[in-house]
């Protein structure tokens, strides 16, 4: 399977006045196939949003990013490569991503106009898209404030679809919505991916939703991708201690009264990441060499990859021990 979107060794620095540059993403790799949903998870500040913005070209980045075989160039003053129209983004806040003073139909139709469609035709197609995302037929002649948060996010998705994308990067698309709206917007995204054979990068801090909808999951920690794999396997047998910690911190609504497991310590300051493996100060399984050696992301068997010395390249995932063994 050839990759639709492929990012290799992506790094993003934020330059700050009077402080050293902050490396928000540090050599991250991602790949996405057509018809695939990739969940990108991690704690706040791990660089998942920055990586998402970098792969669509909204954020200048070092490293190589290719979409459909062509390099993704950061958005600048010049006209964007028309080949990049198929690469689109959905943002977290549908209150900020829509223009409050323009008709919804006009905003959705923009994508078609830019693609060279005539205005009446663009408006007609915009109406179709609005119905496709589950909005009433008269939505086109209304303003964004007339809709609820969930409906606005549907409008933002329709607006993205007007560019006839083959790949969408959605940054926390359901986090700002109410519980019942979250489920319906997530379902919409899944349906669209299956129906239009698109690729979707679903960035979220909500692991349980990612578990439900993503085919593969990538886990980020402090600017790095530390584990990637098929969602089901990654959940049932995490290869990285951090992945396991994230999963066991999710409370379940099963009424059993089980307290989620705490991961001690805070995420370190990304401007001063710890040496060696970045997770070692919080890792329950850290070995002496972990404070020295920085493990690269290596492929294991079964389509899984991990950046941890506890796993052997090319081998199946070794189950993680509950606790560190005494001085081995």
């Amino acid at each position: 399977m050839t990759a639709l979107l492929e990012a290799t060794g992506v790094s993003v620095d934020y330059h700050r006045r009077g402080a050293p540059a902050l490396r928000a993403v540090d050599g991250a790799d991602l790949s996405l196939a057509r018809g695939e949903i990739l969940g990108l998870v991690g704690e706040s500040g791990c660089g998942k949003s920055t990586l998402g913005r970098a792969v669509v070209g909204l954020q200048p980045a070092a490293g190589e990013i290719r979409f459909d075989g062509r390099p993704v160039v950061p958005l600048g003053r010049r006209r964007r490569d028309p080949g990049m129209r198929g690469l689109q983004m959905v943002f977290q806040d549908p209150y900020a991503s829509l223009n409050p003073r323009r008709y919804v139909g006009d905003q959705v139709g923009d994508g078609y106009l830019l693609g060279g469609t005539s205005r009446p035709e663009a408006l007609r197609k915009a109406g179709e898209l609005l119905e496709r995302v589950g909005l009433p037929a008269d939505a086109a002649r209304r303003y964004p404030h007339e809709f609820s948060g969930g409906q606005r996010q549907r409008i933002a998705i329709a607006r993205t679809l007007a560019a006839e994308p083959s790949c969408i990067v959605a940054d926390e698309p359901i986090s700002a919505l109410d519980a019942s709206a979250q489920a319906s917007v997530a379902n919409l995204l899944v349906d669209l991916v299956r129906e239009l054979d698109m690729g979707l990068v679903f960035i979220s801090h909500d692991l349980s939703v990612v578990r439900q909808i993503a085919d593969r999951t990538a886990v980020m920690y402090l600017g790095r991708v530390v584990e990637v794999g098929p969602t089901r396997e990654l959940w049932s047998s995490p290869a990285h201690p951090y992945t396991r910690a994230l999963i066991s911190a999710v409370p379940r609504a099963d009424g059993a009264g089980v307290l989620p497991v705490e991961l001690p310590g805070d995420v370190p300051d990304p401007a001063r990441p710890p040496g060696g493996c970045r997770f070692h100060p919080r890792c329950p399984l850290a070995l002496p060499e972990c404070s020295r050696d920085d493990p690269p992301l290596v492929a294991l068997r079964g389509g899984r990859s991990v950046a941890c010395v506890l796993q052997t390249p090319g081998e199946p995932v070794r189950p993680l021990a509950t606790r560190r063994k005494d001085a081995t």
């Binding site: 704690e43 706040s44 609820s148 969930g150 109410d178 519980a179 019942s180 709206a181 979250q182 489920a183 319906s184 997530a186 379902n187 899944v190 801090h205 692991l207 349980s208 939703v209 578990r211 439900q212 909808i213 969602t231 089901r232 959940w235 910690a245 994230l246 911190a249 999710v250 409370p251 379940r252 609504a253 099963d254 009424g255 059993a256 009264g257 089980v258 307290l259 989620p260 497991v261 705490e262 991961l263 001690p264 805070d266 995420v267």
Partner: protein, 324 residues
């Protein structure tokens, strides 16, 4: 011994441009010492206004009726001065966003000791000593140094721990925690939930946790009240409400959650959206979205009826019987 907090028929009207609107409609519940009581619901269900009413912190021109008996006194009938002695001392609050509940320009020491000195009359050095103990209780590393620091120097999780320390300073009997972990990552949330759980055991503290997250409820609450449209939809022991829900709304909330075992099944949202303030439908407030609604639901006002030990649901037809 009676309950620590006994709320009876609490009703809250908020002033809007179009006149008063009911935000909480005849809510009753009780909380015992050492109990964690959860109030769940979507935005606009009235859960935050319930907490604000108990603390006398409702917006200007809001009105209340009903009773809220706390340690033998009615919180709703207290004068502002009397309430000031209760608030912060006997009842404390932790809010959702620790970056707004802590003052950005004041040191942690000032924020932790000000109300101890006011309420308990402690000297500066005694208050400081207690502050160090409190920071240690909520597991802030190096408490001595933390006292001199400002909120911006801590992460979100640490700030929420500090906010909890501030709330605990005067040894309250009741802690109201409004979405205490919503702004935090799951890893940090786990730590805060464990902290709340430990505090109630160590201090016999009663905690009211308000959250929309049923996973959080399942982790810490002993009993859960599910609110909808300002009313109780269902109330009962945690295990019963989450595994044998008797109200279609509770069932809908649980079904909308991702399945714990993952898999390909799609999420099942509740159709429609919750009513906004002043637009709560007549009859059962949930009936327009309810898959089990019968004509009676549009007119009658179902009161919670007992459906099991300590378990009540405001849904008389018992539609979920048999398919649990």
């Amino acid at each position: 011994m009676g309950a620590l907090l006994e709320v009876e028929d609490l009703t809250v009207w908020l002033a809007t441009r179009r006149g008063p609107r009911m935000a909480v409609d005849g809510l009753s519940f009780q909380v015992d010492s050492g109990e964690i009581f959860g109030i769940a619901g979507e935005s606009g269900s009235g859960k935050t206004m319930t907490a604000m009413a108990l603390l006398g912190l409702l917006p200007h021109a809001a009105r209340t009726s009903g009773r809220a008996m706390f340690e033998g006194r009615d919180l709703l009938a207290m004068r502002p001065r009397q309430l000031r002695d209760v608030r912060g001392r006997r009842i404390a609050m932790v809010s959702q966003d620790p970056s707004t509940s802590l003052h950005p320009m004041l040191s942690i020491e000032t924020q932790l000791t000000e109300h101890m000195r006011h309420h308990l009359g402690l000297s500066r050095s005694a208050a400081r000593g207690r502050a160090v103990e409190l920071l240690d209780t909520v597991r802030i590393p190096d408490p001595e140094r933390a006292l001199g620091a400002h909120p911006a120097q801590f992460s979100g999780g640490m700030r929420q721990r500090i906010a909890i320390a501030v709330a605990l300073a005067c040894e309250p009997r009741l802690l109201l925690a409004d979405e205490p972990t919503t702004a935090l990552d799951v890893t940090v949330q786990a730590g805060i939930l464990r902290l709340l759980h430990r505090l109630r055991a160590e201090r016999d503290l009663a905690v009211v946790v308000i959250t929309h997250d049923l996973g959080v409820m399942s982790a810490v609450a002993d009993r859960i009240c599910v609110m909808y449209g300002g009313r109780t939809a269902e109330v009962g022991p945690r295990e019963r409400v989450l595994t044998r829900p008797r109200h279609p709304y509770t069932r809908g909330l649980l079904d909308a959650l991702p399945h714990p075992e993952g898999g390909a099944a799609t999420l099942r949202p509740i159709p429609g959206s919750p009513p906004s303030l002043g637009e709560v439908p007549a009859g059962c407030p949930f009936h327009p979205r309810c898959g089990y609604a019968v004509p009676d639901c549009r007119t009658g006002r179902p009161a919670p009826v007992l459906v099991g030990p300590g378990h009540a649901a405001a849904c008389p037809p018992d539609p979920l019987e048999g398919d649990a």
